[in-house]
Amino acid sequence: MTAFWRSPWLGPSVALLVVLAGFAADQGLGLILAVWLAAWGINIWLSNSGRAIGGFVVPILFGATLLVLWELAVRLYEVSPVILPAPSAIWARLITSTDTLWADFVQTIVKGAMSGYVMGCAAAFAVALAVDRSPFLQRGLLPVGNFIAALPIVGTAPILVMWYGFGWQSKAAVVVVMVFFPMLVNTVQGLKASEVMQRDLMRTYAASYWQTLFKLRLPAALPFIFNGLKICTTLALIGAIVAEFFGSPTVGMGFRIKIEVGRLAMDMVWSSIVVAALAGTGLYGLMAMLERKLTFWHPSQR
């Protein structure tokens, strides 16, 4: 019995059945399923083969599959381009609009998101230290801080635009508010992560607060801190882009997306989204790389 579900033939035969069922229901569906399962099969084979190229090829193949499916679906079901454009159309638009997209990227990601990300994470980190240091603040500031951080972005963005103007500064402010809470929660949790014996050791040395912090608690907190930093990269992007919906100069990715939706230029909208996704993945990847370097000792990295 166990041999049955371990059988290498099980996967392919189930896949074949699914594809046949798909064709029976609808030609297009069958085709889509076939492409999907074939690509997935190749991926499984590649990633299990343990070859070094796997790490590079697999996600790309996966993405390429998604794109092919998307293109297929749009063509087979004749989806209106004002609802969802085909990837080929998006690509065509992307390569002809690089100037605009670059200007938007600088305005929104570099000026708005990144500066806000740095300030917000740094502030959350500092507050986490303060909160951790003082039981009074822990009981007083943490609940209140949680409360303030829970103010939803759609509400705070208009207010922050009103306060900080239409430029990137207000976007950075929105990002600060957005990343603050996840970073705070993770850092506070991380600062509690060291083990009792590890802390006792520091006590026997009569290590000062700062020594314990730097030599024990921060290293032990790093896995949690990176958790926060990673989640916050994507939040920062969303924050900066969404904030532009509530007022902006005539440049920026949020601005672009908004006006192009109004003009039904969905290919341009998706081009901007592609840039956002690339930027987000890049930032996230950067953080993941740093994490790998700095928390090599954590079981999750070994």
Partner: protein
């Protein structure tokens, strides 16, 4: 016996004071800063008005006016709380309309309910999806390598941009009401769960894993007996972030559904008509909901960790 009871009571009260005092202190500082900021930001308007009317105002008059404008740049705490009070305690939650009993759009409770329902449903979807994805990622190399980058990419798509399309598409296939909103909530909340759970599920040490290997425990047993329990602290941290994100998702989703009701709609219409006091009270209601939800999860966390013997 009586003494014991009284003592217990006293200690309970002392405990409460111990917990509430710092919050009150911090709140006090914030309220004071807030008043100062209100006066600072609203003053210009008062002076502008006075100048145009050709009047001279004393400092006291300026402050009094700045704290009680009808459309202040920054409403004062008492204005916001008065509004909160009027729209909660001062309004019935339901009202009679053409023979039907319906939600009263002037009650913030009604709007909060309209937002919380999709929040919770979306949180449920998102958390479930997040945990399942994390489990897949931890167990399947192909998923690990392919899903994660695209999950990240999915999060950088500005939700406000695609929410309308999602709603339009879902509407056109006949799905409306709670579900589209919940889906957007779920979309925002699954990601923190994936990230946290992947880490958590991978957190057991080498020896803990080896032990189960010597039992030749299957994948499922390893998951249930080791990986999941070990990931619980990570799970709760993620859940706290996720539920706040779910609330934001529900609010965002209210805008492209025609901003009919819910705290998001309330925020939005408030902002179209420049009613800052309404914006702030809706904002506070949202934050109260979020804080309550986060606190609820914190409570669940403490109970769970205690029951698991992990709280020391």
């Amino acid at each position: 016996m009586r003494a014991g009871l009284g003592g217990g009571l006293m200690r309970g009260m002392a405990g409460t004071v111990h917990h509430v005092m710092p919050i009150l202190a911090v709140l006090g500082v914030i309220v004071a800063l807030w008043y100062a900021a209100s006066v600072g930001m609203n003053r210009a308007w008062t002076l502008d008005q006075a100048e145009r009317a050709g009047e001279e105002l004393s400092a006291g008059e300026v402050i009094a006016d700045a704290m009680n404008q009808e459309r202040p740049v920054l409403p004062t705490p008492h204005q916001v709380f008065a509004e909160l009070w009027e729209t909660t305690a001062g309004e019935p939650v339901m009202r009679e309309r053409r023979g039907e009993l319906r939600g009263n759009p002037r009650s913030l409770f009604f709007h909060a309910y309209q937002t919380l329902a999709p929040t919770l449903l979306g949180f449920l979807f998102g958390t479930t999806l997040g945990i399942l994805l994390a489990i897949g990622i931890v167990h399947n190399r192909a998923m690990d390598m392919s899903v994660m980058p695209w999950a990240i990419a999915s999060q950088t798509i500005p939700i406000l941009a695609i929410a309308p399309m999602v709603i339009v598409v879902l509407n056109s296939i006949g799905i409306e009401g709670l579900l589209p909103k919940s889906l957007i909530s779920a979309y925002l909340s699954f990601f923190p769960v994936v990230v946290g759970m992947v880490k958590g599920l991978r957190s057991p040490g080498a020896m803990d894993m080896d032990l189960l290997k010597t039992y030749s425990a299957g994948t499922l047993a390893t998951l249930l007996k080791l990986r999941l329990p070990a990931s619980v602290p990570y799970l709760f941290t993620s859940l706290k972030v996720a539920i706040a994100a779910a609330l934001v998702g529900a609010i965002v989703a209210e805008l492209p559904t025609g901003a009919r009701f819910g705290l998001g709609a309330r925020l939005l219409t408030g902002s179209y008509y420049g009613q800052t006091i309404q914006i702030w009270s809706a904002l506070f209601m949202a934050a109260i909901c979020a804080a309550a939800l986060v606190a609820l999860i914190g409570l669940a966390e403490r109970v769970t960790l205690k029951r698991m013997g992990l709280a020391r």
